[in-house]
Symmetry: D3
Subunit: 229 residues, 6 copies
């Protein structure tokens, strides 16, 4: 697994903000609190809040200039931001933030593979901090975060499992899998895609095993951010 | 599993066209051949073709009117059509259709759960027929289809695996999983999402087992369409 | 005139839904009731409801793939759906559906000329059924449908009037005329366009006469759908 | 009929440009020559050119501010500019302007009913002048204009035909009909719409008769613009 | 300086409307009153109104056809309409028009340089007239216009200052500067741009001096429009 | 003036990339080389390249979440990126980069006033580095950068000139002026706007003087980045 570095309180304005670096991949994740919920929750019973995510890439993040999505969002971006949102909602008790929406913005400063999984791992920290702020400001009474969540990519290359693929590895892997898992070792999301070659059950099980171990390490590092204080 | 019905040659104009009914879900899948490839493949070495998919829902397909996507495509639609495209490309040797793009259009006439998996299962048949037509018209020499592919949704509800969820079941399930598998029993795509509750490894394995059996039955029915003739 | 076939209650969810086939042209027409009116009617005196229409073509409906209108609607589509809406509103007493908007969705499954006129003829039946449902559910007290309405295309080719043109005939005709008429034989809409050659009064009168007779036959078949029950 | 005034050579830059005033309605019509044809004509046999139209309304043209169409064009605008284009193409031999497209821009400075018919009548004059310029500059050899064309609106109010309706009359009329006719008295386009009340054949014939007489007068005035010189 | 001509009450419907001609440049400026304010002012303390501007070019206004901005507005247009809005707001006491927004629409009929400055000079007259109308209709009690405002372009060509540049001069000038100034000789806006060559302080001072004198003349002519009556 | 910090080679992929911090304002500026020019330069004589800029704000950069510009770009953004582009082009000999376009992307990570001026100052350094890379890779023969350029905001508050305004000062200032100047002390751009109060010539001269001194200091720091190496 590549080197992981999470800098908390990276920016001045958002309730939570981190710079997460995983190898050469760098993502700014912020959590911003809004005191309104999306229309479909306005009359929800019981009242509940919402967590949503947006994902974007700076033009200079990639090898070839990444064109800004200024007239519409590509399918890839839509897919990634839906994944981040689902992953984070899975570890939050939304009834504990009634009337609030928290937007997790993930802006990739530099891309070298694994930007969506880094966004989830970093986004969880930003969200943690936003909830702490809400508790401190008495906007809510109880911590809505059920447990920590993190994500990793695993793949198969030349008959071997590899985890935390960089861009080079990712483009050569036969299978590309993104796993989101909680601190208690339960699955939140599994997305595995055959790239060129299909994969059998044995390969799947190996990847799942590796992902479980890798995520445990990531969550350990998330946890340390708070115990250290 | 719900009742499956596939009507081939459903429309006059497309190279391949089917109406697939899975329970009350009805999707028209067509395969249309274009003699050009997308820009990123123009100078590919070796030369290759492409398969892409579009997915849409008729306004009258759902219980509440489904608003037409006329100014932009939602994230859900983008996600689904990318899945269909990937699933079908996984069983095709693209170097055998150099210079051609085949567009698989999946239009949901009536929705009762499982529209994306039905689109893959039906889309594979439309694609099969389009390839037959290309062979017959000598546009290509060899059948590019490596093997058949089909897809199913599986879920977990009240501690039990259920397959081929209808809309009602889907909205109550704790886990929602879509599996795409080939005739030879290999995975093409696994997408599992915790809905409200996370899931453990045991649940995952049960769902995978059920999906494998269900897909085998679907592919048997696809196969029959051709042996019958 | 080509063979006409109308299948009622074609779909599960909409208040009214038909599959209309006129020759090889096939259109799904649905009528969906919404309990709100467009902004410009909110304070209308006396209170009234609204009927509007949307028209679309499946990509596989035409000989060359019909590109989905996902970022904007073409002028042709805009023109057609405005025509359908006007035609149906002309036979409805809108003050009898105060507070309701009914959307008529016309989705062309297969196109072989006359899709806009088939949409009107089929849309009228879907609307009839939606009104019956509203009466049954006591949403309204009286039937708002004043009389039935249907439409036909007529043209001039080689000095002869032809009615209900298929795609081939339509592209060769010198004049293309769409007529919408009520059960009582009054005009709702006349749209005649010189294609290549202008036309004189004699030709116009012949086309009008033919259209009148053709529409009478169409309405007879609409009427039969209800008397049979 | 309201007072008609056509000022030729109204603007400096376009090949043809007029200010047409019909009662209080004022429209600037320009004809601009481009040395390219739309994609669908690139390989036409025999080679031919094209005429297309755009229509727009200044915000201050109407009683309530008319919102600029800056993100999309409304159905009404699309319908009108298609009508203008068809009307003018009907009197032009497009094979005499191979390789050229002429855009007729109609910008309504002040609106008081009949803006689409004034656009056609004025657009024909702008087009005439553009053709003269092309002949003079030897871009073409023969005049492509077969004959003049003009348009008028007629309606029915309180049992009487009225022609050239202003905004007030137009919003109260039971029937609204736009007729486009050539100098030789042939029809180019007939668009009649029941507004509130349907109409019978007798009413139709009266409107057609009145339109024929009115258009003859308009064309007489167009003709005078050239004979006077 | 080129010849200036301002025709007041140019259109029927708007509260204020002028045709301003500066040399061959012609712009229609209208002022339309709306009884609502933009969202960001809804709870302003003290209550205030707003003035905003829109700018557009007719396709026939320029030498090459100016393409309509129908799907998005270019940066140039955005920049110009923001400038016009700021310039006019600078001479208005917005607290004297609480609850109202006035839209200044500037539509360029013919362009020969200086369209943005002519829009400001003409827009000020349209605004003046709209305020007079509001006073007369007792919508407001006091004249919100603090003083008149006008604008001019100045540039540097071959070592000499030139004012009120036409299109030809503008495209050859080394520096292009737009100055907006009040009746009392204070600056509202200064925008100077090096085109090809940078400029020194001496050149700047010369341009400012010339602009001051030119604007004084423009305001004199604005003033005359009212004293004459 | 606030503290200035420029970190060069901030990102891996772009030809030039800096993080510029001015007080609490932080902007990532990158320069990316493309081997094509915009359409309007394709046949330019003499051949020349182009420099253009894009500007964007991260959602977490501001106090209230800054909404992503995903369907259209606001007028403010359009204005800023045009300013950055013009400012940088003014110090480049475009005929020395024929066939190349360099895109300067300015992404504001944190905003506290002066983001557009910091973008110019930082963008100049990124551009310098991109040119060095082009020289090293022999894409070009001579350095196209004529001299360095930098920008500063100056304003007037309570009768005093202040330079390099932070957000707080900027929102209270009576005048807001952005000045772009070269190393040799010539003006590239002057944009001064009265905010609430107009300003006289004396104020203007004071602001210009202050801006000149401030920019000299900024350019000194830019210069140091290169002399140090």
């Amino acid at each position: 697994m590549r080197n992981l570095k999470i800098i908390k309180d990276y920016l001045l304005h958002p309730a939570g903000s981190v710079l997460i670096e995983q190898g050469k991949t760098k993502v700014i994740c912020t959590a911003i609190i809004q005191d309104k919920v999306p229309p479909f929750l306005r009359n929800a019973e019981p009242a509940q809040g919402w967590i949503t995510a947006e994902y974007s890439m700076l033009p200079g993040a990639t090898n070839e200039r990444f064109r800004r999505e200024r007239s519409k969002v590509t399918g890839r971006t839509a897919e990634i931001q839906r994944l981040i949102g689902r992953a984070l909602r899975a570890v939050v008790d939304l009834t504990k933030i009634p009337g609030y929406q928290i937007i997790i913005d993930c802006d990739v400063i530099q891309a070298d593979g694994g930007t969506r999984t880094a966004s989830i791992t970093g986004g969880c920290v930003a969200l943690y901090d936003a909830f702490q702020k809400m508790l401190k400001e008495k906007l809510i009474d109880e911590n809505p975060l059920i447990e920590l969540v993190a994500a990793i990519s695993v793949g198969f290359q030349n008959g071997k499992v590899i985890a935390d693929l960089d861009y080079e590895q990712d483009s050569q892997a036969d299978v590309d899998m993104n796993i989101v898992m909680t601190e208690s070792g339960e699955f939140v999301e599994i997305q595995g895609t055959a790239e060129g070659k299909t994969f059998d059950d044995k390969m799947l099980q190996e990847m799942l095993k590796n992902a479980r171990e890798s995520i445990a390490k990531l969550i350990e590092q998330q946890r340390k951010l708070y115990s250290e204080k």
